[in-house]
Structures are given as structure tokens and as C-alpha cells.
Amino acid sequence: MSDQITITIDGRQINVMPGLKLLWAALDNGIYIPHLCAIREEIRPNASCRLCFVEIEGSKHPVTSCTKTVEENMVVKTRSPRIDRLVKTAFELIISDHNLKCNECPANKNCVLQTIAKERGLRLKQKRFKSIVREFELDDSPEVFAFDRSRCVLCGQCIWADRVEAKVGAIGFTNRGIKRMVTTFKDLPLADSICTQCTLCVDACPVGALYYKKDRKEAGS
């Protein structure tokens, strides 16, 4: 495997294909780096979740590993006080407008936010930022799945699935700032839009925003 290059992550030497982004190099080798918005096939990653920061030897500032291409002899650290602080802040901001009623969520115990919290010793609770959980009407118009925007983390995985995998183009981001959300043209319910209900977006959702109705939990159970 002469065309592979060697990098060091947390003291472990690994061989990776050149051109790969650091995040995927780490994940492929069993080294966890938190991430929500990263998509392997994406040429220009959004880097919008701000969770995948790492320290690279020789670089002054932490960098997002989803945008950094691996280089020969790169020395990477996935944890440091700076990284932990950045990730904690980003995580707290994400959950500050997230519906945290995990016991009512169909993705409970199968949720990327819970994974990140566990891996990095973070709590699914925060006091630093004002909590703004917006009220949304549940869109349960599709036959087998539903969309609860109060659980959406705006990672864009569903939009990628809709555009690139399903090639439909039914959903997209709208509005700005705290009002930003994933919705259809004219805010129509999914069933009234051009959505084909292929459910690829449901499979892509890392949290419980898009979920199969069969997995729904009754409130309080």
C-alpha cells in the first residue's frame, strides 16, 4: 500500500488514503470525533456544527477535522482543553434550542447527541444559554414517518439525502438565525409537497426529528 500516507492521531499511527478528510480518517480507524453535519461525499463540507475540532501540530488554532485533508506525517490530537471548551460550547448551543424530552423521543438511546454527550462527558442539559425551544406543529402527513422540528439540529443530513441520494429536492433550509428550519416549498406539509416519501431522509436523521411512526413513543410512557 505504497500510495497511503501515515498520520498520527492521539499517538496512534494510522495509514490512510491521501485526499481523505481527517474526520473520516479518524472514524475509519475507530477514533471518535464528535460530528453532526459532516457528509463523507461532500466536496466542500459546511462545517456548521462546530463539533469536530481537533488540534494539529504546527497549526496555531484548532481546526474542524471535516474540512481538513490528511497530510503526510500529520500529528493530530482529538482532545485538549481548548478543543473540549469549543466542543462544549457548540454542543450547549445546539441543545439550547433542542427539545430535550428524551424519554418521549423515538431516537432515545439511538441519538447522536447522546453519543456525543457520552463520549465527551457532556450533559444533555445546559444553563449557560437561554433555552429557546420553539413550538412547531408536528408534520405527520407522510404515511410512515413524521417530522418534529423541535428536535431538529439543522445538520442538513436530510437535505443531502433528499437532494443527492433521492434526487427529489422537496426540502431545504429556510429563514435565518433562530427561525431557521428545514421545510418544504411554501411550508407545505410533506405529503402536499413534491416529497416522494422515500424515507431516505428519515434514515439520515441523526436525532429524532424525522422518525418512523412505528417508533413513536406515547408521551409519558
Binding site: E137, G169, T174, F185, D187, L188, P189
Partner: protein, 182 residues
């Protein structure tokens, strides 16, 4: 927002004209939307759909862009346009209360237009006369120190003024609704 009689043809003609002038690249999406809005006063959903189809981008993307920028409006300007100032001074002395009073009286939300197209309600950031805060601009007329009681007065004046013109407005073409899950 329902289209008024004959509006559909106007929109189609206008959008086709703009699309003919501009090169069909996604870079031109914002200029095209600006151009259409300059001619029609707003971006009807029909126009957005036509533009999306022409540039081969999802309509959801055009909608996302139009809702991202404040310069685009998705509802037609009303016969009476009310702009509530929420600049720092007006905000501090209760501009939001004035805005909410208008929302209740007009039965619309900020940024929307009433179904009969008599009123549209917007928020602006500083009109330039902060001593009169909270300020409301009603059809280019600046109203100062606007309390909820004054809102009632303004609405009453507009209604007397507007009732005579209400009969001119006719709507047809159903199912151009704004959508339900807001």
C-alpha cells in the same frame, strides 16, 4: 396569499420577461428575484416556482433564499402599509407592544398581508425620529408615541378610509395558500 383576478397572467408575463433578460445561472438567482420583486412588488410563489424550474434548482432552495434575506417579501404590499419601528429606542419604549397590537387588529403576523390585501404589516429598524418613540409609519405618515389605544385609532381611520375601496378587490384562483405548518 390568493391571487387577484388577472394577476396570474401578469406574474407569468413578468417572470418570463425577466428570465429572458438574464442568463440562466444560479449566480443570477438573486438578481432575478430582485428584478421580479421590483416589478411585482413582491415574490409570488408562482414566480418562485417558475424561476426554480427555469434555473433547474429545487423550488425549496428559491424559497429558502427568499426567506433568508430581509429584502425579499413573499406577500403583496397592502393597500395600507404599516411599518412598526423596532430600532433600539422604539424597542425600549414598547415598539413590540405596538406591533403586537397591530397583529391582533389586522389578524396577521409581522411580514404578512391581510387576505383582502388592505393591510400589510412590517417591522423596520429606525425611521430616524427616535424622540417620538415608539414610531409607526402608516402609508408614509409618521405616527409618534404609539400606544395600543393609538393603534386602535389608526386602525379605525384606515378602516373608514378602506371600506370604500374594499369592493374593488376580488380574489379567485384557490389553493395558492401560504402553507399550514408555520
Amino acid at each position: 396569499m390568493q391571487l387577484v383576478e388577472g394577476e396570474k397572467e401578469v406574474i407569468i408575463a413578468c417572470v418570463n420577461e425577466v428570465l429572458k433578460e438574464k442568463e440562466k445561472t444560479t449566480e443570477n438567482l438573486i438578481p432575478i428575484l430582485q428584478n421580479v420583486q421590483a416589478r411585482l412588488g413582491y415574490l409570488p410563489s408562482l414566480a418562485m416556482e417558475m424561476i426554480a424550474a427555469d434555473l433547474a434548482v429545487p423550488a425549496a432552495d428559491v424559497f429558502g433564499l427568499a426567506t433568508f434575506y430581509n429584502q425579499f417579501r413573499l406577500s403583496p404590499p397592502g393597500k395600507h402599509q404599516v411599518k412598526v419601528c423596532l430600532g433600539t429606542a422604539c424597542y425600549m419604549v414598547g415598539g413590540k407592544i405596538a406591533l403586537e397590537s397591530f397583529e391582533r387588529r389586522m389578524e396577521i403576523r409581522e411580514g404578512e398581508t391581510s387576505v383582502d390585501r388592505l393591510y400589510s404589516l412590517e417591522r423596520v429598524a429606525c425611521v430616524g425620529c427616535c424622540t417620538m418613540a415608539p414610531v409607526v409609519v402608516v402609508d408614509e405618515v409618521v405616527e409618534g408615541k404609539v400606544t395600543p389605544t393609538r393603534v386602535d385609532g389608526i386602525m379605525l381611520a384606515l378602516q373608514e378610509n378602506g371600506d370604500t375601496k374594499k369592493s374593488e378587490m376580488k380574489t379567485d384562483l384557490p389553493d395558492e395558500g401560504e402553507g399550514k405548518n408555520k
